[in-house]
Symmetry: D4
Subunit: 170 residues, 8 copies
């Protein structure tokens, strides 16, 4: 249901978080390397065939002059989620602007710099709007996030309190 592509296999270090969270949420996904610049024909074929192959959401990660998400979006009617992959210089600002500043007519749903995990969750939310069971899993997922933060908050409060007692005791 979700297809995860990236411009280079070196983007996998960032993009694997999308696959991981989709696995957590029980959403089927596939992974491939499709380069807008180095394999343009493969990109065209991928984008044109995705809807017919049953894909419902595409996640595309790319860095620098990141053209992959926008180009794929121009050749499919599916929603495309773009992940700006940060490269060695400019902290991903070039990737972000190259992905998000699409012209009217062809949107890309852009997430944060390096935000592949959020790309996976966003894809699940899109599907969950039409899949009650997945919607329930997303609710549980949010509740779990909340529970984790509460746990960490508790731990920090204790650490601070202990630190204070320790200092007082000293």
């Amino acid at each position: 249901q979700v297809s995860i592509i990236m411009g280079s296999d070196s983007d996998w270090r960032v993009m694997e978080a999308a696959k991981a969270v989709l696995d957590e949420l029980g959403v089927a996904s596939e992974v491939d390397v499709v380069s807008a610049h180095r394999t343009p024909q493969k990109m065209v074929d991928f984008a044109r065939g995705a809807a017919d192959r049953g894909v419902r959401v595409i996640i595309a990660g790319a860095g620098g002059a990141a053209h992959l998400p926008g180009m794929v979006a121009s050749m499919t009617r599916l929603p495309v989620i773009g992940v700006p992959v940060p490269l060695e210089k400019l902290d991903g600002l070039d990737s972000l602007l190259s992905i998000v500043q699409m012209p009217a007519g062809i949107p890309v749903a852009t997430v944060s710099i390096g935000g592949a995990r959020n790309a996976g969750i966003l894809a699940a939310r899109m599907l969950g709007a039409f899949d009650a069971e997945l919607g329930t899993r997303l609710d549980a997922f949010a509740a779990e996030l909340e529970r984790q933060v509460d746990g960490k908050a508790q731990a920090l409060r204790e650490r601070v309190a202990t630190g204070e007692r320790a200092e007082t005791g000293a």
Copy 2:
């Protein structure tokens, strides 16, 4: 199916393009002003109730320290599309970063600065992945875009050719 909200009624000059394109594409939508900072309770109620009211996608526009899209996304499991509204200073860069740089767990599908039309199209793409008829309308929409560009290209080529003949004739 789509709920369009914005932080201030002055954002309507930007956000009405989302409503307009959804109308063009035959997708039902509602409009409201919900301010994260000035009507926080209304925002909480809106976000928590949206899925149960049958909304499937939320479009939220905001400017400056633009917290509305992210805050709504934190209180619903629906996909939330964020539109960075440019204010008088900084050309919307603050709005963009405030919307797109969400922490892991809570994604916002960010479109370009002022890109409300694309937000509407993106919402339609999300729905179209589960609605064959809307999918067909989206294909027609893309074909129409292509036809328009071809028409403009033809017009420009003629203008350039005429300009050249005119110069030659002079």
Copy 3:
């Protein structure tokens, strides 16, 4: 009197400097993790209850699309000090803009990127305007800062002079 909150327990590495300086200045403070995005209800409850619990100043640290300080400010009448926590990318510029660029009506007193120590001092200054004893401690604090710089200046001048003699002697 001062409540220090942060969006994630990983922000503690930055935020503990606020607690430390308040301890130095003899100002009572409490610490908690409150996430705008992951524990929105806890945030609402915290912000609404703070004034009644006797808190007089809130210090809130957050990174990236940093919504916590502004959201808390929208649900309390207390002064809220925002600390932009720098994340791995963008050097905290996204955090800064997300915190400082608040719309008219809801201010956040923003300090420098990573400036938790200054947040603590700022809170003390606010309280010190109504607490003569704390005011005196703040004057002593400034005098101590001045004394330290004078000491370092003396040390540097000596180091430079010695370096010159050494070179001359060689």
Copy 4:
């Protein structure tokens, strides 16, 4: 109780909003032009004497290499609120960074670029933490903000609904 200063009388176009909202909230204030660079002695005298004159909060606006808020903060123990005034170029980004990026020890409570109204509200919040009556006025102020947004939301919803009927009727 609040002293509003600015580096140039041309900053008054921005800074008058601070005076206006303090008047609305019934907080006494004074206004002066004090230039860090052109009247340095006046600045020193102003900063050193403010606390003894009964001032409890200082609001300082400046643009470009905006040194006034930080320099005043270095010579008083009162809380200083800095307003980055945007000049003709750079949209106030230079003003913002010159004000907010203070070194450890000397904080400036920075508000948004051109955010003089918020500076006034922030000053009132600081005072309101020790003044129950002003606290009540601040609560009323926030309620009025909320009421205004609700009114505008209502107006927009009607405008949109009417627009749709109008189109349908056409």
Copy 5:
């Protein structure tokens, strides 16, 4: 010999300077609108066929998430010159980064924001390296530039001198 394309006919206001300077330099050129996002197939056909049609240099202008120059460069072996077209927001910085930050393997020869005239001159320089006559015209072009600046320098010096005499005479 030179093909000038742009993503939208609204880019012509910027791009016509490329055509104009090529006309001045006696270099044949053609003009078309080719949108990476709205007419992707036309772009593929254009890029793949350019070298065989006898084109030796391609000039491509685009704005925002400007993918046209890079995508064309990925499907031809000809040199591609990219012109960042500034849009309403961000002063063309997004266009510049989207064009210049290409990954290793696929270069785009990027000129300044809005620098279509320079794109034309650059194309002529590429051709002039193999065309002695054009090389001579380029030398004359540079000499003419120098002559113009000398004339303007002379005029300014006179204006300043006169201004001084006028003041003295007054």
Copy 6:
């Protein structure tokens, strides 16, 4: 045919990639250090003499206030390719703007920050437009790039599939 110059021998760590790819593509090149600021006369002599020595393309790398590419371009009619060399601070943004933002009349063909490999390929594309054999090598080069990406894509798909089986098997 191609002359590669740089402002400092410390730029060689970046610039050697230009030489390397030209070697791969069988294009003759020479290398030198020519500093706009420290050896201005050498720069003048180099730029004025390049065309007559048979050079057809110049590649110039420089960092910071990077004046070398533009200054050389002002004293030759040959195409000059500029490589923004990133220095310790600002990630090469100063280098990029100093090279790309040339005034009308004197273009520099700018590649990505640190993009010396692309500078070499761009030079080869310029020459290949007039050299059928080199053109063929460039086509083979692109085909090889595509083949490499396909190989990496295959490897990644296998790694992901194996990972899944492994997890399933566990």
Copy 7:
């Protein structure tokens, strides 16, 4: 004693403020247009001959990829003051970085974007360090600045006081 040059006669609108303040301060100056890119030989001759002609300080203004100040500084031992002239896009940030980020060995004394008046004053300060009479005029100049600010401060305080009485009277 001071030579004011600029890259284009269109920079005069900015640069004339340098001449004006030098006239005010009684410092002799000359004006010329010298383009690093369009009249490189003139620039070389100017820079090499300046010291021998009795010039003691050079003020050079330029915009975009602003190479003039740095190139002149590389061919003279005189202090060179650089004025970043803002062009239509980027608010002069490119001009600033191109001028200020000079490599070790060749400094340019950079003033603010569009800061030609300050360039003139800075030149006068350099000369005034060796010219007691000019030093006295500079002291008077600073005193006059202070007096003007005091006058404006007085006027603003009166305006504010009157406004309050007016409102009270209404």
Copy 8:
């Protein structure tokens, strides 16, 4: 003749290059730590007394909201050279803007981020305009720079040539 001050002794790691080059050039200098924010009175005394103590040029380094150079410039008629010291975040961009963007009337001669060596050379150039012997040393200094670059260029050309022979020999 030259006074080198800095806002913190931790700036010495950057600023010692100014002292070093002045020593190389035989220009007498003194060093001190003077903090605009932590020792404001010392700064006032320093700035007001500098000219009378025989100082002819002041070099001031500071980071972040770097107010030292501008504040000193406001209280002396001597030329002040500002060195933006880069801190942990923002790569010194905040330091640069805080120093260079001074208002009309009070210039600071700004050098590159971290450019203390250039600050020293700039000071020497200012003095050298009135000191023939120092002028000669500056000419020798430039010639030495040129000689060094030529040596490095020679070494690089040999390294490249050898590399080629080695490859050929293999």
